[in-house]
């Protein structure tokens, strides 16, 4: 990437910080839906005992989903209204947006499934659970690669 990196505005910095913090806690609590933190001593670390409580991690995951949804829709409309004419999404930007959408949509299905009297078929439940996990893994890997390769979401047109 040869473009000069402009100084971020306070607004953009706050959006970015909120986005990264939300993703961090969602990934942390999302992986916590598997019984691994207690087994592998993570919840033994002082201050992290709550990681072994599935109800706490689930509630935090849901709160994270609320923030992420708000942020995603805000960012999408803000992009359309104010930045579409100045910038264009890169290929890695499209990939990240696509993976994030897949995570949100599969997560929404899991949230719906958790209501009383809602029944999905066994295959759908297993498929959605695995797809959600796979999409998260792919998204985190993509984020890591983009970070190392300094790939941006969008570039100036």
């Amino acid at each position: 990437m040869s473009e000069q990196k402009p100084r971020a505005t306070a607004h953009a910095r706050w959006v970015k910080i909120l986005y990264i913090l939300t993703l961090f806690f969602m990934a942390l609590t999302g992986f916590g839906q598997m019984p691994i933190y207690n087994r592998y001593y993570m919840s033994d670390i002082p201050g992290l005992g709550w990681l072994a409580n599935f109800y706490i991690t689930r509630n935090i995951h849901y709160i994270g989903a609320v923030i992420l949804l708000g942020l995603a829709f805000y960012t999408a409309l803000d992009f359309i209204l104010t930045k579409r004419q100045q910038v264009t999404l890169t290929a890695s930007g499209w990939l990240r947006a696509g993976l994030l959408s897949a995570i949100v949509l599969s997560g929404a299905l899991i949230v719906i499934k958790n209501f009383p009297y809602v029944h999905f078929s066994d295959g759908v439940i297993i498929g959605v659970d695995l797809f959600h996990l796979a999409a998260v893994m792919a998204f985190l890997m993509t984020m890591l690669v983009c970070r190392i390769a300094k790939k941006k979401w969008a570039v100036a047109t």
């Binding site: 839906q33 805000y74 209204l81 009383p116």
Partner: protein, 323 residues
Amino acid sequence: MFLKGGLAAAVGAVATAVPGAQALAAADDRGYVATLIDIRKCIGCEACVQACREASTSKFPEPQKPFPKMYPSRVKVSDWSEKRDVDDRLTPYNWLFIQHATVRINGEDIDLTLPRRCMHCVNPPCVKLCPWGSAKQLENGISRIDPDICLGGSKCKNVCPWDVPQRQTGVGLYLDLLPSLAGNGVMYKCDRCYDRIARGELPACIEACPEEVQTIGPRQDIIAKAHVIAKEIGGYVYGENENGGTNTIYVSPVPFEELNQATTTGDGRPHLKPVHDAMADANHLAAAMVIAPVAGLATAAARFLINRSKGEPHGNQEEAKNV
């Protein structure tokens, strides 16, 4: 025993007998079938326990030994295969047991006994929070664990308000994956004879009971019956609202707090305390997930309008380049 029999006889006309397999076809308007357990009638003969064992024998685990070495060392083997005869608590080989309590009624000490097993919650945390989909809830409300795909992580037991599911190491899918590093067997619990019910038969425990302690039928009818009996005897109902509602409704002549204090509870021996709806908090948060996109869109639109009023319809140019 006499008092228990007398109490039961007094409302015999109200507490109908086992309704027969035809009742199973008539689930409530949400499709759920529930059981009523009239504690007064139970004589603690354990016919239900034996019937459960016989009906479930083919589902019991046959673990491979020696067990894989587990890492890290804190992961303990859970082996009940050498203790299959244990019948005073829930185990992978005993999905139903009789709980005993001595309580005082009308100045007289009375021994009450009650069958205990999975409550089959209306919205079962074991099913809904299973990370792998191996715990399932059937259309008729029965929850069961699929032994072919359960990894034995025991999350279902952890999130169950009554700690019902029990683990057996050395069996199941985890042996074919990473047996030392992930999983630890299969979780087992009452499946309310879902296969017998599918064939139009009664669950084994209900069919075998000589005292007709259990009644099965549409959930709304079972709850109505429970309240009729409770009203007749000045008794109490448990399971209707616990954990947001279950498909196992107990009726007792004494308060369940008293029963709970008078019985032995602990691992494999479920309590009888009030239970708040474990799934409710997060499900309430889900409402905010509907509002969040609207709030996000409204904020972006407001920001755009504010910028336009300032003569910057496309926002800060530096910011636009820094996506």
